[in-house]
Symmetry: C2
Subunit: 416 residues, 2 copies
Amino acid sequence: MFRKLMTFEEAQKTIQSHFKLQALGEEEAVLLEAYNRVLAEDVVSTLDIPPFSRSTVDGYAVKAEETFGADENQPATLKVNGVVGVGEQPQVKVGKGEAAEIVTGAPIPEGSDAVVMVEDTEREDSELHVFSAVTSNENVMKRGSDIKKGEAVLKKGLLLGSSEIGVLAALGLTKVKVSKIPMVAVLSTGGEVTEAGKPLPSGKIYDINAYSISTAVIESGGKPVYFGVVPDDKSELSKALHSALASADMVITSGGVSVGPRDYTPQIVDSLGKPGIVVYGIAVKPGKPTTVGFVGDKPVFSLPGHPTSALLVFYLLARPLIQQLAGRPVAVMKTVRAAAGSRMFSAKGRRTFVMVKLMFDKSCRLIAEPIESGASGAITTLEKADGFVEIPENQQFVDADEEVAVSLFRNVPGKV
Amino acid sequence: MFRKLMTFEEAQKTIQSHFKLQALGEEEAVLLEAYNRVLAEDVVSTLDIPPFSRSTVDGYAVKAEETFGADENQPATLKVNGVVGVGEQPQVKVGKGEAAEIVTGAPIPEGSDAVVMVEDTEREDSELHVFSAVTSNENVMKRGSDIKKGEAVLKKGLLLGSSEIGVLAALGLTKVKVSKIPMVAVLSTGGEVTEAGKPLPSGKIYDINAYSISTAVIESGGKPVYFGVVPDDKSELSKALHSALASADMVITSGGVSVGPRDYTPQIVDSLGKPGIVVYGIAVKPGKPTTVGFVGDKPVFSLPGHPTSALLVFYLLARPLIQQLAGRPVAVMKTVRAAAGSRMFSAKGRRTFVMVKLMFDKSCRLIAEPIESGASGAITTLEKADGFVEIPENQQFVDADEEVAVSLFRNVPGKV
């Protein structure tokens, strides 16, 4: 079955046109567990915040008008008739000619409408001299001035960080509705891979992808359903894909999508439901054998077996779908500008992604040094690469010293 | 008890001089759980990778010397005596004048030392014409060329991301030793706060800090031990601090460290062990009432009650200690350059941190607009602030339009 390779843009468009973004539903989370989750409801305050008018300073609660005109030479004189502490309902009322001692955060007592700072007063027993006038509401935080009862405080779709969790706590909430986390089944195929922890038969290597892709799923806001290595047998693979589709919102396989007779994944995906495979190979390097299908609304990505290629295609094409399912903003990869450390060649007619390592040269210029790996399949490439340089289809190479944009796989502490 | 306020730098130095960085020990984690943890051992490979010499192309395994001189006009002719597939021990040996069909990733059969690409051959039944010479080891990835048995692959102290987990899987490991996560007890004090979920008595407000600080602890690589709100009573607070020190590696309280007679926390910390309180107040705004002590080697931070101030001081002083205990790199806060949206004033003689919101003006200049909150204690400040501008002790203000560095609390998607 021969089909023309799609360009990278065609593949992106085809995937998005088949992808129906449907809500995965919501669940309730206790507040500390809601951290780093996506809010699934508009949160409306059921109380005024602050719930009462509070003093913002230590001093005396007064009727403002009784201080008008007061200064160093002509202090207003009032009688202190009580104390208001924090956390208590005031037991005192401020009548004509009276004042009440008050601390920061305590409720303003009835009859008063302002607070004079303690620095602007002098007191002898219950007699208080006020040396500075205050206006109505001065040094008072009015009830509801921060948040009004009925006000929409946090919007659905917000990612909950420390500050947002703090705001929810302020509203007295202990639980909140959050979007469900998309479940992503991850499985490896191919006759040459064995699962870590098992003895390594002659001619085989340990599987990397089920682990590296699973952790990349976590990083993207999804929850991996680890299927490990599926034996290289059509009926076993068919069973595994069936079960993966039943238990997850999205499936990612790797390996087994090259050209041999044992390349079962696309046929099985086609047989499991409509529309089946929609992308048969992409004109990119690495990542050419990638196929993408949908069974009903569930995306099925089949990535190449080569670990670096698999992770690269995951970042470029699969991650945005996980982020959309999770209700998160689709992350744009961060880039840094660097000088090409040596000439980087592109594959003819294919969008080429060259893995690079970043380093500073003697004159402290940031250099993007290509990592030779390509066909060799070196697994350490994965760990050495800080990011990649993208070379468009119509360009043959990037010359040494040319400025390039490096898309970063991670933050590079101490490096960039 | 009056003590001179320390400057911000003095406080930082005092804290670091009392802080004995001791390893919290290690624990074993299965590979998927090791994601985003700190490696606690040097990982040495127990196998060669690849474990056998593999073909990097589809083609024919040959003795390189038998192709020397071959070209389009004078092909070398060999006899195909078998097939080597992936994942199997080759059943075939390549003798004089022979070749074996081989696919990418399959082991190089005995007797051969190079692979000719299928594109450079023509085959009739078992007769193979080779149109291009190969040198010894061409298209072969030699056993151990990626990682040698006995080689140190990943170093102790490394933060494990997707790529590193992939490398560990390649080595056949299913478990790895990781550093223990520091436990940080978080408790709120102060007579005015009530725990979320309980009815709100008159004169009280819901506590924010135990939640916002707990999630900030998670963010920093620690595990919060949530103690919630401790009643405003000396013996209750003493019991809670005792239990917090027993169950955690570090303690963070907030509230109750102002000036009133009910300010028990410092005395209790002093009574619980040496050296006791080492920082009594810092010349910063906000955050002046912060105290820091050590009971044995365990740090005890007492942050202000105001939620934004508490979180700010946490970021500035407590977070680096959690990161060090966790074996993580101490994160430097990311900054962006912006123009001050209006004049920002500093507090006389105190390092001032002005909370700001970032926005673009009509000409797409990034503007840092100060958020007025200060004394008012508005809890929404917490959620509105994108970061802060630092004004040194000897500077009175930052003028409108002056360029400032904004330290970011978080990434601001779509904004910066």
